[in-house]
Amino acid sequence: MNGKPPFYRRYVVVAVACVIFAVAALVQMVRINYTPFATDLIARSENYQGVRKTIYPPRGTIYDRKGNILATNQIGYEVGIDLKFVSDPESIAFAAATLFDGLDYPDVYALASTEKRADENRYFVLSSYVSKDKIQELEQLDANYTLRRQETKSLKPSLSGLVWYPMQQRTYPEGTLASNVLGFYNYFSRENAQGVFGVEEAYNRLLTGKPQTVFMPNDPYLVEALPDIEPGASLILTIDREIQKMLEDTLQAALDWSGGEGGTIIVADPKTGEILGMASTPFFDPNQYWKYQETFPGITPYNRAVGTAYEPGSVFKVITMAAALDSGVAEPTTTYNDASGVYWVANSWPIYNWNYGAWGVQDMTGCMQHSLNVCLAYVAIDLLGEELFYEYLQAFGFGRSTGIDLASEANFPLRLPDNNQWMEMDLATNSFGQGIAVTPIQMVTAISAIANDGRMMAPHVVRGVVDKGQQYNVTPQVINNPISAEAARAITEMLAYSLEEEASGALVNGYRVAGKTGTGQIPTELGYTSTQTNTSFVGWGPADDPQFVVYVWIEKPTISQWGSEVAAPVFRDVVEQLVKLMRIPPDNIRQQIAQD
């Protein structure tokens, strides 16, 4: 015996072999981590560990000013084929082609019969945002197939592999109502979905919230609660849906009656700048936003109220007269002798009245009442002068955007005297709303200053934001004081008196309102050769305490070319219903209540 246990050498050999194997395994493990395949291997291993998923927070709800929902989310379903589980491609193809529009049997069959590979998960989307009704039909069919399999004790028919997942989709429960203000959300492409037009676009980031990508492990030991994902912020609009509905109905009726090509009606609160209603044609159902091109062919604006600049015509005389009164160059009693019915600009270009007639001696109220172009040209050129006139126009906000919180606001720059193309004729025509392009919202903003004692408020459609459980209300902002309160009240009185004297079609029984008609000629390439016009009316009331401004624009009416015959009656129709919806009593009752 040499002192070593039996089989000593064998033990040593086995031990050395084990050590060599362990070292080799260790070396290989280290080597693998530094080979070019390491990244690929790590990525593959992650596939087995779980899935990385982007969670999209629900898009914020949009309410009207009274809390009625204008836009929210509902459930749609994504239907797809998970190849791992497919056992009966024929049944899947039959079910999909029968239940879902746009799916053909051969196409679905080809997808469901795709060769399976062990090393990859293959999933094909068949249809997105399928309705709940369709899914219920699918579930019923699946249940029927299960029964049949049990009866026949076979593996077919089977919808195994046909899967559906719920997902939230945008819905507008009021249909076309306020669609021109709301815009739409193109949710079909989830990764690239965004708000388009209106508040959906203007407040897209707030409404969307912050999507988060989270890792969802397969290993139950590693599962953690998902992070709290805040839904997108909700918006409370200044829009009143009853007023909006009334405006859209009235506008449609007005277009049917007048033969107008399009139109806009805006109702605003002059004291806050809140837009209470904004109707614009064509009307559009954002629930079917993919039909956008059919409704808005070519360059048709989505919302004429903010997206179209046009020559407003005589409604603009309100601005010219307000400037004259505020600057002190004229008073309501200042007279002008319209002896010939023509005003010569720089002794070269004639300006005529709307009826080419001469109206004799008129005070400023008469000039506004009869809408005399020659008188307003005289006021702009001889009394105000170019410098003062354009200063006032800029003070009223013309030539720049109003900054309303809606997407795609148009703006047409002012042609000012320092521009080489400017002529004195521009000053004359601008004074009565020709040769200058404005948007309806610019007009409403400017006129609101007159209805609000000279304070011009920032127009806006969002009244409050609800985010992370807290509400942030928008504070009305004064953006300028273009004229004094005295001048504002004076022109309001002039225009209220003018309507009464004219027995205008805009008068509203029981309510004293101020306003002005407008008939704007539409320029062509050859000048003002067309007989087509833009008819407008801007009015506000009650005259002693204005609570609303209403702007009506009917484009190219066929029944008449005059604003007094087309837009003024529409204004009356709107105000008659508006006072009910705004709970404004007739003047005599309101004044009596105020006295008590």
Partner: protein, 159 residues
Amino acid sequence: MKNQILQAYKQAPWRIQLQWIGLFLLGLVLIASITGVYLSISAQAATSGRRIQYLESQISTINNEIAELTAELAAAKSVDSMQSRAQSLGFIPLNPHNAIYLEVPGYNPHADLVLAPPRVNIISESPTVLSSYRTSLWEWLVSNIWQTPTGDAPTEGVQ
């Protein structure tokens, strides 16, 4: 003496075996205990993980149902739907000249809609957690043993 003890062990070798067996069993029990605890905790963790997944799924389902019901309610309360229901119930549009106007003190028809509490910047000065839960042992010793208590007993949170 030392030799006597060694002699005694040599005379009873089963004692050494018993000692090894005891040690082995002790190690086995220890390992079994640790394994049992580990398995128990692992099983609970796995169950909790699956429970979390289930609850997340439930939350998602409930959120979807809430969204669906909200959309259905909004459609049922849409202006067209309400108008047609009002007409079917015999309501007619108001004529403002036939209306009776009442002044209701305190009623503001133009009041802001409140969907959530307004934003508050003021940080609450009254603590929500009792001081006894926020005081460390060291602070308690300092204030109650080494320094003379200042008199009044703390009444915070006591009604």
